[in-house]
Amino acid sequence: MASQTKPLSDSVMTVKRSDTVQRLKNFLIKNGPLATTIVIFFVLYLIGSWLYPAMQKPQVVFNLFINQASLLLVSIGMTLVIIAKGIDLSVAGVIALTTAASAALLAAGMSPFIVMPLMLVMGITFGLAQGWLIHFFKVEPFIVTLMGLFFARGMAYIITLSSLTINDPVYRFLALTKVYIPFFEKVYVYIPTFVAPVMLLVTIYLSFFTQFGRTVYAIGNNEQSALLMGLPVARTKLLVYAFSGLCSAMAGIVWSVSLLSGYGGYAPGMELDAIASVVIGGTMLTGGIGTVIGTLFGVLINGTIVSILQFNGTLSSWWTRIGVGVLTLIFLGVQSLFYMRQKHS
């Protein structure tokens, strides 16, 4: 409910009105792609809950975060990589490898408190290695990370050809404990659900308030310039891929916790879902432009389409892909429109 505005501030507003309108216009043009993403999410969700009133339940909204936890995590890492004008196709492979390796190590009796940090270290190392190849050997990120995908998925299958169940009590506790959301009745999430939102906040901080984040943007715009500006280009590029590896490993842990198993075939094609979410979130594949906030809504849109199809129940789940595909294309159109506008203004 909007509170009553005082007449004084009202008059001040009118004096500055034209300025404010101009500012609002600039703001909209500048943040057009992001605003469009957010609006589409809400419109989509409203349509869904109008078609299927069950979607109006708050639990369904939280389910988006529960079900899309892994996708959100890898998309966060992917966003920074894409802003730095790279691409990371290895993310889903790292997820699969993490689940398989965790399951095997836990089955061998290793403590989960060692397994989880170990997996994170593995993810970071994996990303660092890819970044190193990309930066120092000047290999296309596309090729390096595609090989990374093959390697990681291959390794996962080497560890186990079939799905390995996890019986570790700590994992079971993490997987099955419901955390009830205050102020909502009987609305809950699971413990691993918090990982992605926390990473989101961390990444927002990183990208807007640290030299690392700003250097990522600078590299995406013009790597040569960034170098000549004296920015630590090599370090930042390595770190971006390491960060994506970390996010993927986290996504793998979340995945293995929620399914309580490990398998090389998990998260098939998720690298492409992640890229689609990042693009829908307003990040330019040409680098330098985009935010991780947009990516959140990109992932939520993906989740909403899935939910709508689930509530419908009769439509093939492949409609998700079709929906995401169409939206991504629309988005690329909207983006170029906005950026053309920006150039003319």
């Binding site: 030299q211 943007y217 600078a218 715009n221 013009n222 000549l228 500006m229 920015l231 203004s345």
Partner: protein, 508 residues
């Protein structure tokens, strides 16, 4: 300030540097004093850029010493150079257009609060720094929304922001600025000089050198010619020292032109009758005789390139006819034109002409190859013969025919393109800005070459933004304005004044 003025900021001694196949610098000495504006002069390939790269830590010298502020230093990276107070501002603004102006000035040294970037403090500091340069803009906007001139100033502001900048290097900062913007830049430069900063200034514009510099150092072909006080070196001597030969070459050319004029034959090679294309160029008449150079004069966008595109068949005309040796051309395409013996050197050699990753030889035989069909084999021996012939003929400065084209200087790259078209033995050669970005020495050579070709009976369409150049090389001059042919001058009756009047006439 007088005492510190005499102190040397940078002293280079015996600097040599070679790249594959090129001796870029050969035993060069250079001294930069505190509080002076020092011009670095030289044609393309003289070694200016290499010298700057060594000072800024992008490249390492093979031999020689660098003294900075009295101490011997070895500068290993651009970061290190910036740390000790050497800040370069390059020709193309090397900043990030997606970041805000404030970030572009301060990133890398941004103010922080609890480890996080303090945006408010950063914006304030950026505004202050820009005000020092008399610039008042919203520093929170992305850099990309501002003009090149402003971006240049932002780049300078960034350079100054480096902890105690002692040396500011401006590499062709004025090439994309207009007169007022340049004047403003000079004001800033003088101000900084008076504050005690040493400035190295590189420019192609000679009058700017005289307007703003205190001293100058001239390089030629990687060797030091000398360092002079600007006041004591007349411009004519400067040019002579830069190109390494006296200006009699220019008058020489007039003779060649006169001689070649006799050779112009009656028969027309290329004849356009009311040739035109809507929205591109108004219908025009144009005749090109054998052995004749026809210059197209006019401002940028006046329709010069459009005419070239029509003549070469890149664009199809929708009006009039084009005859080649009296025969009307029906099919317009570059391939057809090449088959007829028409060659075209486009304006943007990097985008449209040269393949930098290929060798000189490969670039030269490209057009022949295309003309012969891609699958017909041209023997290696024949290829080398051709390449060597044109390298010699055009005096292309390259170590071998197998040198990669990207390692050549701009002027020599241009000659490689010329060689490519000469190799197919064309009867008509269309040259669109063949001397753009090329130093004076190479310029005269290219101009002379054009006249020599005419003397051999070939015809040329010569396009240039420099009126003086068009006048010097052309037998006949077609003047264009606003995509329309407005006048034509025969040789002898045209001079700069007349052509400029013709170009300007529409405005009155």
């Amino acid at each position: 300030m007088a005492e510190s003025n005499n102190k040397d900021m940078i002293v280079l001694e015996g600097i040599s540097k070679s790249f594959p196949g090129v001796q870029a610098l050969d035993d060069v000495a250079f001294t930069l004093k505190r509080g002076e504006i020092h011009c670095l002069m030289g044609g393309n390939g003289a070694g200016k850029s290499t010298l700057i790269k060594i000072i800024t830590g992008v490249e390492r010298q093979d031999t020689g010493t660098v003294l900075f502020d009295g101490q011997e230093v070895s500068i290993k990276s651009p970061q290190q150079a910036q740390m000790i107070g050497i800040s370069p501002v390059y020709q193309e603004v090397n900043l990030c257009t997606n970041l805000s102006v404030a970030e572009n000035i301060l990133i890398g040294r941004e103010p922080r609060k609890f480890g996080a970037i303090a945006w408010k403090a950063m914006n304030n500091r950026a505004s202050q720094q820009l005000q020092r340069l008399n610039i008042n803009i919203d520093v929170t906007e992305p850099l990309g929304v501002y003009s090149t001139a402003i971006q240049q100033m932002v780049a300078i502001a960034r350079a100054l922001e480096v902890a105690e900048t002692k040396v500011l290097i401006l590499d062709e900062p004025t090439s994309s600025l207009d007169v007022h913007e340049t004047e403003k830049l000079f004001e800033v430069m003088r101000k900084l000089r008076d504050e005690g900063i040493a400035i190295i200034f590189i420019t192609h514009f000679l009058d700017q050198v005289y307007e703003v510099s205190d001293r100058m150092t001239i390089l030629r072909n990687g060797k030091l010619v000398g360092t002079y006080d600007t006041e004591s070196l007349p411009m004519i001597d400067l040019v002579a020292k830069m190109i390494g030969r006296s200006l009699s070459d220019f008058s020489n050319m007039t003779q060649i032109k006169r001689a070649s004029k006799k050779n112009i034959k009656e028969d027309t090679l290329l004849q356009a009758e009311q040739l035109g294309r809507s929205k591109s160029i108004q219908p025009f008449d144009l005749e090109l005789h054998a052995g004749e150079v026809v210059g197209l004069a006019g401002l940028l966008g006046s329709g010069r390139t459009e005419i070239a595109n029509l003549l070469f068949g890149v664009d199809k005309p929708d009006n009039g006819t084009l005859r080649f040796k009296g025969e009307a051309i029906k099919k317009f395409s570059p391939n057809e034109s090449i088959a007829r013996g028409i060659g075209f050197c486009p304006e943007d050699r990097k985008a449209e002409g040269l393949v930098g990753e290929l060798t000189v030889r490969e670039n030269i035989i490209l057009a022949i190859q295309a003309n012969q069909g891609w699958f017909k084999f041209l023997s290696k021996q024949k290829q080398y013969e051709l390449a060597e012939r044109y390298i010699k003929l055009l005096d292309i400065k390259t170590s071998t025919a197998d040198q990669m084209v990207k390692n050549l200087s701009g002027g020599n790259q241009q000659k490689v393109i010329l060689a490519r078209w000469l190799a197919i033995n064309p009867q008509v050669l269309i040259l669109d800005e063949p001397t753009r970005g090329v130093d004076i020495g190479a310029k005269t050579e290219i101009q002379r070459l054009v006249l020599e070709l005419a003397e051999e009976g070939k015809s040329c369409v010569f396009i240039s933004s420099e009126l003086e150049e068009v006048l010097r090389t052309s037998h006949r001059i077609v003047v264009l304005r606003d995509r329309e042919k407005i006048n034509e001058f025969g040789s002898g009756e045209a001079d700069e004044q007349k052509i400029m009047e013709a170009i300007a006439a529409g405005d009155s």
